[in-house]
Every structure is written in C-alpha cells, then in structure tokens.
C-alpha cells in the first residue's frame, strides 16, 4: 500500500488502522513503511482518507503473497476459500480428515498482532519436519515451500512479511509429546509469536484424546474453542 505524500493532509486518521503499526507521521504527512506493510488493505478500506491519498500499487511476486496471507477478503487459490487456512476440522464430519488416533495441528504464525516473516516460519517448519509430517497441500503456506519434505521454503519468499500464515499437518496422536518438545525449543529462536491449535475427534464417552498429552507436557489450554456438532451430510463413516 502507498500514501501519496503530495496529497496527504496529515490528519493521521489512517495511522490506527494499521495492524502492524507500519504507518507513521513524517514531516506532517502519513508515511507507510513499505517493508513492514503486509498489504492487508485495512487502511484503504476503513481509514476514510479525506483526500484519497491511500492507494494500492500493483502487487508483483513475491509481494503478492502478502495480500493472500494478510487481507481476509483475498481468496487463496489452493484452498478456494478466503483466509489463510483450509476447511480443517470445520468440515471433519463430512471429510473425515482427522480420524481417531490422529490430531490436526495448526501453527499460526504472527497471530496475534505481530505478523511474521517466512524465515521464522521456515525455522519452525524445518524443526517439525523431523517428525515426518506431510504439510497440508491445500494450505497456501505449503505451496511456498521448495521442499515440503524438509520444510524448506523458496528463498525469495523468506523476507516477506504477512499478518499470519499457518503450518498445517496431521499427526499421529502418540507423537504429540515430541511435537511439544520441538516447539518449546524452536519457539525460543523466532522473532514473532505463533498460536498453536490441535484438532481431535471426541471419544464416544465424551473424553478428549489429547487431554493426557497436554497435561503431561504441562501446557496451558484454553477453556474455549471450536466444536463441530456433526450436522454435515453425507456423514463420513470411519472404518
């Protein structure tokens, strides 16, 4: 995104709308730090610039990925849906993507607030790869990898900054302790945050298969979350 300094009246109205604080006042006009801007479109959509000084420049590769991963209204080609993820557990009642004995894992980089660069995402992806995971092909983050087997990304995307990007994969439930240990270690080596989520089938008696693993690892778990209530049809039937 750009702000035309000749047109800008210096009202500062756009500044609070930037989620990563990339807009500041310089010489009495608003200015966007182009390297920090994630192309989310929030300032253009909402700041209601009185002189229409905010404008969208043409996005060319690799900057195009900033919009895909930051603007909630941009549709990702891989998933066919808006946002950065996939249908994941939301349609698990009809897809059977996550069955008993497995968990769906999503590592959401940059959330909340900070945004993330792909060199940090690659650090975690490479560390997690030792578990032999297969990154979700429909997730746009996976499409930026040059070698999904090792978690290596294409070199030209590494410096790109996005509001969030998700590493998504399925894991054998029994491998959760190893995953937690890896994430504890590698999370100390990144310059941003990630939010971690795990999806699981609920046992017929109502118990949660992941609970003992979370407790054993001494991890915090939220008292709120998402519940798929099995109203989708046709229902996926597990063997």
């Amino acid at each position: 995104m750009r702000i035309d300094s000749d047109d800008c009246s210096g009202c500062g109205q756009c500044i609070p709308y930037c989620p990563v604080g990339a807009i500041s006042m310089d010489d009495d006009v608003s200015e966007i730090d182009f390297d920090e801007c994630t192309e989310c479109g929030n300032c253009l959509r909402l700041a209601d610039c009185p002189v229409d000084a905010i404008w969208q420049q043409e996005l060319v590769w690799p900057r195009t990925i900033r919009s895909i991963f930051s603007d909630p209204l941009t549709i990702a080609e891989e998933s066919g849906i808006s946002g950065r993820g996939t249908e994941e557990m939301k349609t698990n009642d009809v897809t059977g993507r996550f069955q008993f004995g497995f968990v769906g894992v999503a590592i959401e980089f940059g959330r909340p607030i900070l945004g993330a660069r792909f060199y940090d995402i690659e650090k975690v992806a490479r560390a997690v790869s030792v578990l032999g995971v297969e990154y979700e092909k429909k997730n746009p983050t996976t499409s930026l990898m040059s070698d999904p087997g090792t978690g290596k990304f294409k070199s030209d995307v590494l410096p790109e900054k996005v509001l969030s990007a998700i590493l998504e994969f399925k894991l054998d439930l029994k491998k959760l302790p190893e995953l937690f240990a890896i994430l504890k270690k590698v999370s100390k080596k990144i310059e941003t945050v990630f939010s971690l989520d795990i999806a699981t089938r609920v046992n017929p008696d109502g118990s949660i298969p992941t609970a003992p693993f979370i407790e054993a690892a001494g991890l915090w778990v939220a008292h709120n979350g998402k519940t798929n209530v099995a109203l989708g049809r046709p229902r996926y039937l597990e063997d």
């Binding site: 500044i15 609070p16 709308y17 930037c18 989620p19 989310c40 929030n42 909402l46 909630p72 209204l73 998933s79 066919g80 849906i81 946002g83 950065r84 993820g85 249908e87 994941e88 557990m89 939301k90 349609t91 698990n92 009642d93 009809v94 940059g110 959330r111 909340p112 607030i113 509001l163 969030s164 100390k188 990144i190 941003t192 945050v193 990630f194 939010s195 971690l196 989520d197 795990i198 699981t200 089938r201 609920v202 949660i208 992941t210 979370i214 991890l219 778990v221 939220a222 008292h223 709120n224 979350g225 998402k226 519940t227 798929n228 209530v229 099995a230 109203l231 989708g232 049809r233 046709p234």
Partner: protein, 211 residues
C-alpha cells in the same frame, strides 16, 4: 482458518460470546449451499444473533447492510452468526437440527457451555479444536485488556492502535462504550467481532484506567 479459536478472556466474559459457523465442503456438498446459508442467516437472526457475517464477502458495513449480507451469499461461502447468550445458541442449534441443512456447523465458545447446549439439543460433539495459547516472543504482545478485544477478530483487523484510540474516547466521554464497540466491529470483515462483549470490556477498561 482458525479465526474464531483464539479468543482471549475470562470465563465470565466469554460466557457472553458464542460464534456459530456454517460451511459446505468443496466437492462434497457445496453445490446449492448458498440458499442453505441464507436460511441459516434467517434462523440465526430469529434466534437472537447480534451480528452475522460472511468470511468471503465481508461484514454488513462492507457489503452495505445486513440484507446485502444475506442476499449476496455464494455457494462456497463461510458464514457466521454471533450470540451474546446461551439461550439463543440453544434456540439456533435446535432449529438447525430440525432443518437438517446438511452443512457442517461449528460452535466457538466455552467448551463446557457449548457441551451443555449440545446435550440439551441432542447433538454430538464430533471434533474439537483446542487453543494451546501463544508461543515465542509473547513479551512483544500488549496487555490482556487489549488482547481480549483484538482476538475477537482472528484476522487481526481490529488493531491495537484503534483499540487504544477507542478506549481513550470512551474514557474522555467522546463516545459511549456501545458506540466504541460498534466502531471496533467495522474492520472485522468476517463479522465475528462481538460488540456486546466489547462494550462491557471497554467500560471496564476505561473505568480501571480512570481510577
């Protein structure tokens, strides 16, 4: 896309915050799903939804009104309704079970409360998604008060700067907490930000920082 999962808050505050999402699955049941999602919107509003939204096309302000949100829904959409109380959620889940639209339905909220609602209505908890919190440079994150408001838009469009500005406006009496909460709703394109809960949080935060 886990934009409703990581809502930060106390049990008391989150007891006024439920998001229901309905979506088709590509190549399984997406054909003709647009009309089913329109029906969902109507049922949600009848049950007492305080906001509805469409992750594909934007919220009511972006689309030009609630009617437009309902009218414009497409077959591949992901749509939501926000509730401030459990009774309304039970009403909607009862109606959805009866209507049997055949699309996947996900409820975001306190697990024990959502579980109770499922039991009341006779619905199964099929799959859950748990948040294991924030990892890495958490020292760079703002206060819990700010996070509670920011995380109600999982895409991060309700910015720290805007939240701070609105808190200052409420504190100075330039707007009411309800007006401030509605202003914070605007950037949340999916329409999942809960302005009822936000108004309460703004009132509490403004009072705490004034005292």
């Amino acid at each position: 896309m886990t934009h409703t999962l990581h809502r930060v808050g106390t049990e008391e505050s989150l007891s006024e915050d439920y998001v229901v999402l309905i979506m088709p699955s590509k190549d399984i049941n997406h054909e003709g799903s647009g009309s089913k999602m329109r029906r969902f919107f109507e049922m949600a509003l009848e049950a007492g939804a305080i906001k509805i939204g469409d992750a594909r096309l934007g919220n009511e302000y972006h689309q030009g009104g609630v009617e437009k949100v309902i009218e414009n829904v497409e077959d591949r959409a992901v749509v939501h309704a926000v509730f401030k109380q459990k009774d309304s959620l039970i009403k909607l889940l009862t109606a959805l079970k009866e209507a049997d639209l055949g699309l996947s339905v996900v409820v975001s909220g306190l697990f024990d409360q959502v579980g109770q609602c499922c039991r009341n209505v006779g619905l199964e908890k099929h799959t859950i998604n748990q948040s294991l919190g924030r990892w890495g440079r958490t020292d760079k994150l703002p206060t819990q008060e700010i996070l509670q408001l920011n995380t109600m838009c999982g895409h991060g469009m309700v910015t720290v700067g805007l939240i701070e500005e609105v808190i200052a406006d409420v504190k100075a009496g330039r707007c009411t907490p309800e007006e401030g909460a509605e202003r914070l709703f605007h950037p949340c394109m999916c329409g999942i930000f809960n302005p009822f809960r936000a108004a309460r949080l703004l009132r509490e935060t403004a009072a705490a920082t004034t005292a």
